[in-house]
């Protein structure tokens, strides 16, 4: 089962997790990314906005889920990413991998989120007080994605 969803609606993790579990494998690993309220000198993040590439995003995520499914023989690969404005504490992204054994589920889950960070066309804009700025890409994300090879 491959499940990809890009939506402005809040992410329902209970529903997504239940769907991944229903694939019948014994091990399900998940990762949830939430909007952090980082304290910076210029104030707390009040709003995070996610822009994406409609069509291109879904295509990139489906490709990623298919790659993970083939590599770890997954019973289920789920990628749900929220877009539009969101507030601290809200979920940005949820990924899940279901496999017969835990090492495959855990590795595939880490792969999905690492590669999503570098391969999927999303862009974050933070608003702190009255100033908005685009979030810069992190070299650490490239390094994390690179450890999985091509």
């Amino acid at each position: 089962m491959i499940r990809v969803l890009v939506s402005p609606a809040p992410i329902d993790v209970a529903e997504e997790l239940a769907a991944a579990e229903a694939a019948g494998a014994g091990a399900v690993a998940t990762f949830t990314g939430l909007v952090r309220a980082d304290e910076h000198a210029d104030g707390t993040v009040a709003v995070l906005e996610l822009e994406h590439y409609p069509g291109g995003t879904e295509r990139a995520l489906e490709k990623l889920a298919a790659e993970a499914t083939a590599r770890w023989s997954l019973a289920a690969a789920t990628i749900v990413h929220r877009v539009g404005p969101m507030r601290p504490g809200e979920r940005i992204v949820f990924v899940a991998a279901a496999a017969p054994h835990r090492d495959a589920a855990l590795d595939a889950c880490a792969f999905l989120i690492d590669r999503l960070k570098t391969d999927a066309p999303f862009w974050k804009r933070e608003t702190r007080g009255s100033s908005a700025s685009w979030v810069e890409a992190r070299d650490a994300d490239d390094a994390a994605a690179a450890r999985w090879g091509n």
Binding site: E51, A60, V93, R138
Partner: protein
């Protein structure tokens, strides 16, 4: 050819999408960016640092020397920051 811009590239250029008639001499993403930069000062400013740009040709991510020959849609954008 449909050209799409995202994030600060979109804001810099001043539009998210434009249709262009590409000269046959423009065959790569890098050449396309150079050619687009001549359309307005805003384009030129948005494309001032090609190292900060990424692209997808027909929704397929690729390097700046990827071919755009025959493509219907090219997207130009900053490094991605999702997840």
């Amino acid at each position: 050819m449909r050209i799409l811009y995202f994030a600060w590239v979109r804001e810099g250029v001043g539009t998210g999408e434009e249709e262009v008639d590409l000269p046959a001499t423009v065959t790569t993403v890098a050449a396309l960016i150079d050619w687009l930069a001549t359309r307005s000062p805003a384009h030129a400013a948005a494309f001032a640092e090609p190292a900060r740009l990424r692209a997808a040709v027909d929704q397929e991510f690729g390097p700046l020397d990827a071919s755009v020959v025959g493509a219907a849609e090219v997207a130009i954008f900053p490094p991605v920051t999702g997840g």
